[in-house]
Point group: C2
Chain length 72, copies 2
DNA sequence: ACGTAATGTAAAGCGTCCTTTACTTTATGT
DNA sequence: ACATAAAGTAAAGGACGCTTTACATTACGT
């Protein structure tokens, strides 16, 4: 329940930060390429630890990577 | 793998914000009391959507609720 | 001291995050 | 046009977040 939406800027940030490939980004944050693909595609939300790793890899805050909308 | 630590200030923020009980906080963010207990006890990390809801309930950023350490 | 609210502990079950494997499609360079 | 790298799709399995139920303990008010 609670229809909420989570979008992210991973794909954009990946290119803003020295043209990282999905595989390279996956290696840096310690997950598989499939996980990066799924997150970029918005198939599911990452865990909080992974969100932290992604944000730090890009040198920004979690709020700058992920946008969460609460439709209440 | 990748021994990382996640701590949080949920319990402290709960008292700073008008003396919320675990049950009241659980209701506001849409989970059960058990989930709040487990998170306060550090038993597991919340999902990213739940982390967003908690942070917004307290009126702060995710980084102000959760502290993540990367031991690399 | 007693009753009630608040917090804590435990365990089974479900859904979702993430992995692993394998194959296909799209882009890039020469 | 061809070879290779990068990105996409799919599906089974494991790990973990979260629920549900039930009971135990601690704090608080009168």
């Amino acid at each position: 329940m609670s229809s909420d939406r989570l979008s992210n800027k991973v794909r954009r940030l990946r290119f803003d930060n020295g043209e990282l490939t999905q595989q390279q980004l996956a290696d840096r944050v310690g997950v598989t390429r499939q996980t990066i693909i799924a997150i970029e595609a918005g198939k599911y939300a990452p865990s909080l630890p992974l969100a932290f790793k992604l944000a730090r890899t890009f040198g920004v805050s979690i709020e700058e990577v992920f946008e969460y909308e609460n439709e209440r």
